[in-house]
Symmetry: C2
Subunit: 488 residues, 2 copies
């Protein structure tokens, strides 16, 4: 970091902490130069940087003043996707993003990884070692088809918190929530079928639909209350829809928790039109509120909800331990699990079962909920600070994703291409739409610790967005160049 950036960050922190109040005059260039032992031009550069960040405003002949405090940007409006079944595109973009994931020099704002560096995760490490020492025979052998019973018993207990009443026998363990959802889809749908999704919708889910030749119909979704029940009903009337995929609790990417009344409305719609509900509850345990919000499954009286979840976001992705509570589809789900992958790794199942049983899971979860909530506050502040005026920002009620809507003219696909050269990976909104909508949007993974490094990356991201607004053509040209370069 250069000297002037360092100074600018210092001043920005003082403004944020209120040491310099709103509309207060800042020290003169000369005073600062003497106080910090830097040159006049360094101070001038720092002030210009703060000005570009909308933190200070110059007044001719009297110096710089703290800018009037901006209110939190508004929440994005209800989305308006094309409401007809479409084939999912965007695979190339997803693949590029996945490819970047394992370059350790890259800052991955676009991925979905949780924070796995917290000390409350250490007992898991001990449980894994213990499992290997005490169960060599079992960890080397085939698992049973539904998964380890001791794990399913722990999961059944955990799910009570969300109102889901299921016995160990009602649960089928899978390789993460991703496999849970894919098996659920394979069990219910055929190629050519139509499935309704929230819009925006997690790109992994979307690519699953593409893989299995299922068409997606994107339903307008409110960033605070979830899928539009009215729009869903209209779609159900118009199209032969097989099911709807919902992330009702701590939605990815929008962060909402659907109000209970709306959850029940969707469920009764599903009953009326006889469709399945694929409930993706992977972030449900990370809700800000305690006790955690209820699942749709908790009101499911006729087994049409296939509840999918995992320990990926709450504990660690590398465990690959997820599950599905398939309701009336249990036989088909077991068969599709057998067809797709047969059995899972026993060692990680045994380790996470012990982690839950010994109470480590709840301690860890409590900690992570606090951390992610605080992170989102900080990242929201940075968005306000570094991004242009006119953005909209979600107010996540859990999880660790932030969704930013930028001015219409910003093409985040181009910006993402430029940022790759700076070793920054972001997820443009278009990944979250079957047909590439939301190019002016962006999902940010706030699980990345909000340290100085990530603040600097957010600032770089903001600069790239400013550039895209100021010279949109140039950024397109640069992006194309970069794409060509990338493909060579």
């Amino acid at each position: 970091m250069t000297r002037y950036q360092h100074l600018a960050d210092l001043l920005a922190a003082r403004i944020e902490q209120g040491l310099y109040g709103e509309k207060e005059k800042l020290p003169s260039v000369r005073t600062l130069s003497q106080q910090h032992g830097v040159s006049i031009s360094t101070v001038q550069q720092a002030y210009r940087l703060l000005e570009s960040r909308r933190l200070i405003v110059p007044q001719p002949r009297s110096g710089y003043f703290v800018a009037p405090r901006q209110a939190l940007p508004p929440v994005p409006a209800m989305t308006r996707p094309a409401q007809r079944p479409v084939e999912v595109t965007q695979w190339d973009q997803v693949l590029t993003m996945l490819d970047a994931r394992h370059d350790k020099t890259i800052t991955a704002f676009g991925g979905g990884s949780p924070d796995v560096e917290q000390p409350t995760l250490r007992p898991l490490w001990r449980e894994m070692s213990r499992v290997i020492q005490h169960n060599p025979g079992e960890i080397f052998s085939y698992d049973s088809l539904p998964g380890r019973r001791e794990l399913r018993e722990q999961i059944a207990r955990l799910m009570l918190d969300g109102g889901t009443i299921a016995s160990a026998d009602d649960i089928v363990v899978t390789s993460g929530c991703h496999a849970a959802l894919s098996i659920a889809l394979l069990a219910v749908c055929k190629p050519g079928d139509i499935v309704a999704v929230e819009s925006p919708c997690y790109y992994g889910t979307m690519q699953m639909l593409r893989g299995f030749d299922i068409k997606a119909i994107e339903i307008p979704t409110d960033p605070q209350t979830g899928i539009s029940v009215e729009a869903l009903e209209m779609a159900l009337e118009q199209w032969p829809i097989k099911g709807v995929i919902l992330v009702a609790n701590c939605n990815n990417p929008l962060g909402f928790v659907m109000p209970d009344a709306r959850k029940r409305q969707v469920l009764s719609l599903a009953q009326r039109y006889d469709i399945a509900i694929f409930e993706d509850d992977i972030y449900g345990e990370l809700a800000n509120d305690y006790p955690r919000p209820r699942t749709l499954k908790s009101w499911d009286i006729d087994g049409r909800v296939l509840l999918c979840s995992s320990f990926t976001k709450t504990v660690a992705p590398g465990l690959r331990v997820g599950w599905v509570v398939p309701g009336r589809y249990r036989d088909r789900v077991l068969h599709m699990k057998y067809a797709a992958s047969a059995t899972n790794v026993p060692s990680t199942q045994l380790a996470v079962a012990a982690f839950v049983r010994e109470g480590h899971y709840h301690r860890h979860l409590r900690k992570m909920r606090q951390i992610y909530q605080a992170n989102i506050e900080i990242y929201s502040g940075w968005c306000r600070q570094y991004f242009p005026c006119g953005i909209c920002l979600t107010r996540p009620q859990g999880g660790y994703m932030l969704w930013v809507e930028l001015p219409e003219e910003v093409d985040m696909v181009c910006v993402a291409t430029q940022l790759r050269r700076l070793k920054i990976q972001v997820a443009p909104g278009s990944l979250f739409s079957a047909s590439g909508k939301y190019r002016n949007c962006l999902r940010i993974n706030c699980a990345l610790p909000p340290d100085e490094k990530h603040r600097a990356v957010m600032a770089q991201l903001g600069e790239a967005i400013y550039r895209a607004i100021e010279a949109p053509e140039e950024s397109v040209v640069m992006a194309n160049g970069a794409i060509n370069g990338f493909r060579q």
Copy 2:
């Protein structure tokens, strides 16, 4: 074990070892009674048991004589399945068998588990502990989509032994060979497509086809040389077949290694008719001959062979580490991997990569090849000893499966149902046919150590088969009763 059974086994062992020669007279009942300090009736019972095992024959007024030594039963003839595309059935039977797998009181002759109790596997246990201690960050994080590079590099080296030339980038790691094959099928086929299979064919593969709504056409297969090239060509001429699934090396369940010339004939047929080859090489490393037999992939010049394999049979099923070398289908395979399950568990990948790198894999494999070869000898002997005359028996050239063809009138599905009550699980031949053929056949897993316990189980199995021959109606009634009991 009762006293008379113990005595019978002792005498049987002496006969097998040649201490009592062929047609030699055995000691009188009185002599044995004095020698072993048992009652006259115990000796009489022991002799009657040996007689029922066809090891000795009584001669009126002169006592018991060692029975003339039987020649090894003939190899089964070329199979003759119905050569038209059919929908796969038999799922209920497979599920029943899988359900039984995790009851530790059951002897699982029907499953496919390797022997994971050998001391040459201990280093794997150490490598797993080491991985967990040294890489906590990595084992908790997401894997990359194609799988851990250090593992793919080791796999690339291993595959050279079978003539397969592939770089780490050509390999996609999967959750076992099962997932490798299912992803390969999803990448190439659509529902309604037709795929050719050897007949008999592993039931897991068959159920995959059922799960994905792919029709199977079963091709006549010779138990010594593999799929009939002529019959395959006829089928290709008659039906729009998308691909053929082959277990060319150490076939499951028949045990053959396809001669190289035939492998090349099938490959050139595939080129001529432009179909894909799904090569399941999971047992390939367990061939009796060294160096191991070549893969079809090793002659594949246009990338139409999707080679699938894993460490499940050679090392341990609980690792869930397999791979596919997808050739020209790489992009589709990566997409289907993402759609079906996304990424795999990193810890077991890292452990097995170290196990291979440090040379433990080759040591273990050498040992296991010897063990399985010896086991098959012993189990073949027991088949001869305990099963009725007129059986046919395969001569496996690797792997650990033995295929027994029993007299036409034996219904192994019924026998299997009876045996379940005796806590013995067997795999009736019908599991290996799309339409339930081979009801008079049986696959035996010779990886189970040929100890006294398993000898006794083989004897029980033989008795059940004898009963089925002597009173076929009764066994059907019993089986139905058992099924009803089971379902309650």
